[in-house]
Subunit: 246 residues, 2 copies
DNA sequence: AACCGACATTTGTCAAACGAATAAAAAGAT
DNA sequence: ATCTTTTTATTCGTTTGACAAATGTCGGTT
């Protein structure tokens, strides 16, 4: 049975079609993995040309709402929502907002402390041995002084992702992955000396130790110190930059 | 001076172009409100046809990275990131993941309690009179029994948005707006009797009162009771649905 | 000086076609 | 008869060329 679309024309046709299809997906009229009509068919149904339909479809593809395949069994399919894709989009958007000043770095630091604090508390009881092992592995990597700054920061991101995953909450993992990711440019800016690395590794060790002994408050305290340290180093970096400029 | 784009062909041309332009925007080579080359020009530069360029541009438009205007002074412009748009996308993605079962409702309830708890604590000290007034206004609306269920749920969403805004943290507001929005379908499911409304209004009153007297823990406690109540009512709704089905 | 209309520019849309990928059907070889 | 290869049909991906619609600019008219 074909799905019916109501067609209201107020903005551009392509946008309208995208919105109509998106609404159909969002409220479940189009199920996951269901195949959409062919582009030709959609063009006829919406009374527009195929390129216009394609513009609409590409909008949806950009939001990971559909995926397409060529060939006889191909077509455009409703995509199963992939948390990684959504997290990436969220991280991108957050990065842009930080860059544009819509989100202040102080807010970011506060939010990170509070949010990761929650994860820490939950993780103190929910953490599994596998997750602890993942954090230990990253910590071991971070002690290697031959690591490049990029590699160190990447490992830092993985460590924090493991921490939030240890909370065992899918929504928190999703949100925090994006927050941690969006904060990486900031980390990249402050990690520029061995001493900073050692300090950060020490904070990580305290956090890990707290989780191992299921001591939530010790973990939160360590996290607080880490964020405070990061915030200070970031301010230093800003000052140095201002000096060089002035 | 024209911006240089490196062009690597591995996937489809349109996607590649979109990724190239997105990267240019993300790392600042294209500034906010800067005008992109005309579609014709981009087509020549990337050696593809204009419809292909347009598909790429529409992908970016779907992510609110560019906006377009017709006419002589028109063109495609780098869009300033609008938190509302990003929050809407995030809410959509979250809704879909909940619908697909990628996020369990228990996780959602837990996350909401913890996250909103943070906001409550922060709001206890940061809240302004204007924000309290906004919450009072929604509360007054919610006491009106002639409200439709949709209106009540919409007011519920606004109340919680005001609560998270009262925390005075832009990143938390951004994330929580999406979470609250994504939870609305759940609320829609359980709000079906006057008694439920009265109970929820009572919880809201407790939360508001706690903020007025800057009592963070009382607010968190009220919030915990609200979430527990909501969770139970949701389980009831699921049971009833299972009964009808079986 | 104020208003109005032609014009240029740019995005929005259309039409028809060819290219490319893919799986199923058909043909051929063992 | 079974397996392999070829063909073929279908669908998305892209091209070309054109016209429509919006919108600022400029010149002419009142």
């Amino acid at each position: 049975m074909p799905v019916e679309f109501e067609n209201v024309v107020t903005t551009s046709a392509a946008k309208q079609i995208a919105d109509t299809l998106r609404a159909a997906i969002m409220d479940g009229r189009l199920q996951e993995d269901e195949r959409l009509p062919t582009e030709e068919e959609l063009a006829q149904r919406f009374k527009v040309s195929r390129p216009t339909v394609r513009e609409a479809l590409k909008r949806l593809a950009a939001q990971h709402l559909i995926r397409s395949r060529r060939g006889p069994t191909g077509g455009n399919f409703v995509a199963s929502p992939a948390p990684e894709d959504a997290a990436l989009s969220l991280a991108n958007a957050t990065t842009l907002m930080v860059a544009a000043g819509a989100i202040q770095l102080d807010d970011m630091a506060t939010a990170r402390l509070e949010l990761e604090g929650i994860c820490c508390r939950l993780a103190a009881t929910a953490r599994t041995d596998a997750q602890l092992e993942a954090m230990r592995a990253e910590l071991a990597r971070q002690r290697d002084v031959s690591l490049t700054d990029e590699e160190f920061c990447a490992s830092d991101v993985r460590f924090h992702r493991a921490l939030v995953d240890a909370a065992g909450n899918s929504l928190l993992s999703f949100l925090m992955h994006a927050v941690v990711e969006a904060l990486q440019p900031v980390s990249n800016m402050i990690i520029f000396r061995v001493r900073e690395r050692q300090a950060i590794v020490a904070f990580h060790e305290r956090i890990l130790g707290a989780l191992e002994s299921r001591d939530a408050e010790a973990g939160v305290a360590a996290l607080g110190d880490l964020v405070a340290y990061t915030r200070d180093r970031y301010r230093d970096a800003l000052d140095r930059r201002a000096e060089r400029a002035g």
